[in-house]
């Protein structure tokens, strides 16, 4: 029997969510007060969920590793948030947003989930406006929109280049209001390191207080993971330095299946790598592709001169420039989806037309937009992004084109969840980037903010009630139980083992090496041979890690090195599962590009016969192969087709 039950409601697509809500359990206000919920992570998903659940009357315990919930990495999202409002009268609709999201995800997402996402998208904008989010407005005072990749309409709402910040601060305000009301207790500078399961249900977490180093236990009637993505397995990514997979990974080891781990997004517009001491990559918002034109030289000798620094980009006349996205994809041009744009950049650079001294960059040029709209308009639209670019590179993008290159940005894969956003462990939920659910094999720009807030404000607060309605008789969870004892001991032993290796190399040293293996072998283009090789290299490096790791400092005190060591240990295990998943999926789809599976024109070629499913991996033990379960994907409302942006 298939262990995966997605619990998709019956009925026509557009009625599923309404029908589902009408038939699920609801907890009375008097009983909500008696129920505790742990929410791990305070980004858009976790913050909005914690605030909304507390407003309903539940007792919420909210955890984040940063010193404040406001610092979660959603804060760094720049460009915008999608919603099917059709304010622009350009024929947008719930169906169109749904369709473009499924197509953008290369037909590897669930129809019912994505439709629901599109359905609640409008309410998110209303909510954020009511909270005082200063969205951009037109001169009539109404909300403004911009365009994003993979969409034929203009449905992206924005607050300059700081949309994520403003949405997160809105939900941080809502959270603070509940802290003041006594319904939420925030545990900042706490890292959740294990999930406690009692009689098959999630009943709490083990967390380390990052200030004192003390390992603590917390009980609750349900646990919600909103811990974001795992892009940092590549070391260099656009994620924040502290982003990690640890809580989600321990959930996997406690029985939550991991969905599509090989689906990661490589964002086309990041500032190129400058040297081997680099710690992270900086994204330049996709919104820049509204007005910037992407090009490389037509002639290889020009590219070589640019690499050598003997000419500047402005020396190359228009007719010698290859606007390769406009050339290859006339319908969408510079606004093709991210996976397509990234691969096209890699193709040009691999062919020898790349720029920068490394040959690993392409131009994003605003000359044409400045000529058309004036510098002031461009400054108003992207001023802070241009400033950020200049600070990092010392190049003025108003005068010279930006240089960009793809970088790891987002993970579409994550913990497998059903329609209620519950993992395969009863009472354990995963929301936002932490789950696998809505973006298939490639996420469209401005959809991560939409999904995080949809899950946290409008979906989980309903669906968790269905589970908790059956828990109203369960008393407060007693953390003085053998299950908590054991879990705490295991966390303690795991960290102690890392601390006591007493080798010679830092956690960062190993993390960088792991990142290189992942980028080279499990990055933008993958084939069976390179993936097999990656599996060997990851295992060798992991052995070396456990032999030669050095964690300085005290065990029971603030210790950044110990934090990093724990995260890197989990990344090693995740890396193996990602590689295994990439190897098993011998088709190309979205961000997962297998060199063995391409069309004659070099585009990703899906294999719907064999792979039209979600891969959900079940942990079977430390040195045992995980078991693969498949959730077939049915497309009843969309004509599935080879994706084309031409």
């Amino acid at each position: 029997m298939n262990k995966l039950n997605a619990k998709i409601p019956e009925g026509p697509l557009a009625e599923k969510w309404a029908n589902h809500k009408a038939h699920i359990g609801v907890v009375s206000p008097a009983n909500k007060r008696k129920l505790d919920i742990i929410v791990v992570g305070t980004g858009l998903a976790g913050g909005s969920a914690a605030a909304s659940l507390a407003e309903l009357g539940y007792n919420v315990l909210s955890f984040c590793y940063q010193d404040s919930p406001r610092r979660a990495h959603s804060i760094a999202a720049q460009g915008g948030i999608n919603a099917a409002k059709n304010y622009q009268n350009d024929n947008d609709s719930i169906y169109r947003l749904f369709y473009e999201t499924i197509k953008g995800g290369d037909y590897r997402a669930r129809e019912a989930n994505v439709y629901r996402l599109a359905e609640v998208s409008g309410a998110i904008i209303d909510q954020c406006v009511a909270q005082g989010v200063p969205f951009a407005r037109d001169y009539g005072g109404l909300l403004d929109n911009r365009s994003f990749g993979g969409a034929l309409v203009s449905r992206t709402f924005y607050a300059r280049g700081q949309t994520g910040q403003q949405l997160l601060l809105g939900c941080y305000g809502a959270l603070n209001r509940q802290v003041k009301n006594g319904n939420v207790k925030v545990y900042s500078r706490h890292e959740v390191l294990d999930i406690v399961i009692i009689d098959g249900k999630a009943r709490g977490v083990i967390a380390r207080d990052l200030v004192t180093g003390k390992i603590e236990r917390f009980g609750a009637h349900a646990v919600v993971l909103a811990t974001g993505g795992y892009g940092n397995v590549f070391f260099l990514s656009t994620n924040a330095m502290g982003c990690n997979v640890s809580a989600a990974w321990q959930a996997y080891k406690r029985g939550a299946f991991f969905g599509n781990p090989c689906f990661v997004q490589i964002h086309p517009t990041c500032i190129p790598v400058h040297g081997d001491q680099q710690s992270k990559l900086t994204l330049m918002s996709e919104s820049l592709r509204n007005d910037g034109r992407v090009w490389v030289p037509k002639k290889k000798e020009d590219a070589e001169k640019l690499q050598a620094g003997t000419i500047t980009p402005n020396d190359i006349p228009d007719e010698e420039r290859d606007f390769y996205l406009e050339r290859r994809y006339p319908a969408f041009g510079n606004l093709v989806p991210r996976d397509v744009a990234s691969r096209a950049a890699k193709e040009r650079c691999d062919a020898g037309f790349g720029v920068n001294n490394t040959g690993k960059a392409v131009f994003l040029d605003f000359k044409y937009a400045i000529r058309r709209l004036g510098e002031e308009t461009i400054r108003k639209r992207y001023g802070n992004l241009f400033q950020m670019y200049e600070k990092i590179t010392d190049v003025n993008p108003y005068r010279e084109p930006m240089m960009i290159y793809p970088a790891i940005h987002y993970s579409m894969g994550g913990l497998w969840v059903d329609y209620n956003l519950m993992t395969t462990v009863p009472g354990l939920y995963a929301i936002g980037e932490c789950n696998f659910s809505d973006h298939g094999a490639n996420r469209l720009g401005a959809s991560a903010l939409m999904q995080g807030l949809a899950d946290g404000y409008f979906i989980l607060p309903y669906t968790i009630g269905d589970y908790l309605a059956k828990e109203i008789q369960t008393p407060k969870i007693d953390t003085a139980s053998p299950e908590f004892d054991k879990a705490e001991q295991q966390v303690n032993d795991r960290l102690r083992a890392l601390h006591d290796i007493k080798g010679t190399k830092s956690p960062d040293h190993f993390h960088k090496l792991l990142g290189h293996v992942m980028w080279d072998h499990v990055g933008m283009a993958r084939d069976a041979e390179s993936l097999e090789q990656a599996l060997r290299l990851i295992r060798e490096l992991k052995q070396e890690f456990y032999r030669d790791l050095r964690v300085t400092g005290d065990f029971s005190a603030m210790n950044n090195e110990l934090e990093k060591a724990g995260r890197v240990a989990d990344f090693f295990e995740l890396a193996e599962l990602m590689t295994r998943d990439a190897l098993e999926r011998a088709e190309s789809c979205g961000g997962h590009f297998r060199l063995e599976s391409v069309t004659e024109e070099g585009e990703a070629k899906r294999d719907d016969e064999r792979y039209r499913h979600v891969s959900a991996w079940e942990y079977k033990g430390d040195n045992v192969a995980p078991e693969l379960h498949r959730e077939p994907l049915a497309y009843e409302n969309i004509q599935i087709a080879q994706r084309s942006y031409k």
């Binding site: 940063q66 404040s68 607050a159 305000g173 404000y457 300085t552």
Partner: protein, 253 residues
């Protein structure tokens, strides 16, 4: 994008084992480092060196490394977030320093921000101020359509200027009185400018100012140092708006 190499930098860094310990400066050398390296990457490199010598690395707060999360802090050569205007420490690059230079690195210095370890301080006081009223009291669901209440675009833009605050604490660390007025003003002003936030403007101003006073932040004496050191260039005009809102609230009493 080719940067010069700095042959040697001397770093004087504040080290303090924990909140109770007495801290002091330690001196370190960094050699042959590219001007394109970010300031925090330089600290990463120093920490690798220290781990290699089996010494404890320097603890410092950081996360997004793109100037938006507000986690990084640091007083660098006597200035919050270092010598450049309009950047956070994580956006500062070594090309702004001269070869052979000595760089002094300290944590935020303010009674309201006690040191936790080395360069890390406790900014929970900021959380408490926000919890006192830094929001619009709306509950999820049941709100009007986003376009139901038009907002003049210049008001939205001005609100956005204030809302750009990242809560890093540079204003407090820079102020000779350790005042948090700019931080409080940014939120009060943002919400007072928008029709959605106007309803509670008086209550908000009173509650946040009262909490700020209670937590031991000093008074504002209008020196403007906070504005000039703010990485997001939040204007002290917002403090004027806060004062107006506060006065209005008091008059209504």
């Amino acid at each position: 994008m080719s940067d010069k190499i700095l042959k040697e930098l001397t770093l004087k860094i504040w080290r303090q084992k924990d909140a109770k310990a007495k801290g002091g400066f330690e001196t370190y050398k960094i050699r042959d480092i590219s001007g394109g390296t970010s300031f925090l990457e330089m600290l990463d490199i120093l920490n690798e060196q220290l781990v290699g010598e089996n010494k404890e690395p320097v603890a410092f707060d950081h996360d997004c490394r793109e100037g938006i999360c507000g986690m990084c802090s640091l007083f660098i050569n006597g200035r919050a977030h270092g010598p450049d205007d309009e950047v956070t420490t994580c956006q500062l690059h070594l090309r702004r320093f001269k070869d052979g230079e000595t760089i002094t690195i300290e944590p935020w210095r303010s009674g309201a921000f006690p040191v936790i370890k080395d360069l890390i301080v406790d900014r929970k006081a900021f959380e408490k101020i926000q919890q006192a009223g830094g929001y619009v009291s709306v509950t999820t669901g049941g709100v009007p359509d986003g376009n139901a209440i038009p907002v003049p675009s210049e008001k939205a833009e001005e609100a956005m200027d204030a809302a750009a605050c990242i809560g890093c604490g540079a204003c407090v660390a820079t102020c000779k009185n350790s005042s948090a007025m700019l931080f409080v003003a940014a939120k009060v002003s943002q919400l007072a400018l928008l029709p959605q936030g106007k309803i509670e403007a008086a209550r908000r101003a009173k509650a946040m100012v009262a909490k700020m006073d209670e937590l031991g932040f000093g008074n504002c004496t209008n020196t403007g140092a906070c504005e000039s050191e703010c990485p997001k260039k939040i204007s002290i005009e917002h403090i004027a708006r806060l004062n107006r809102e506060y006065l209005k609230a008091k008059l209504q009493e």
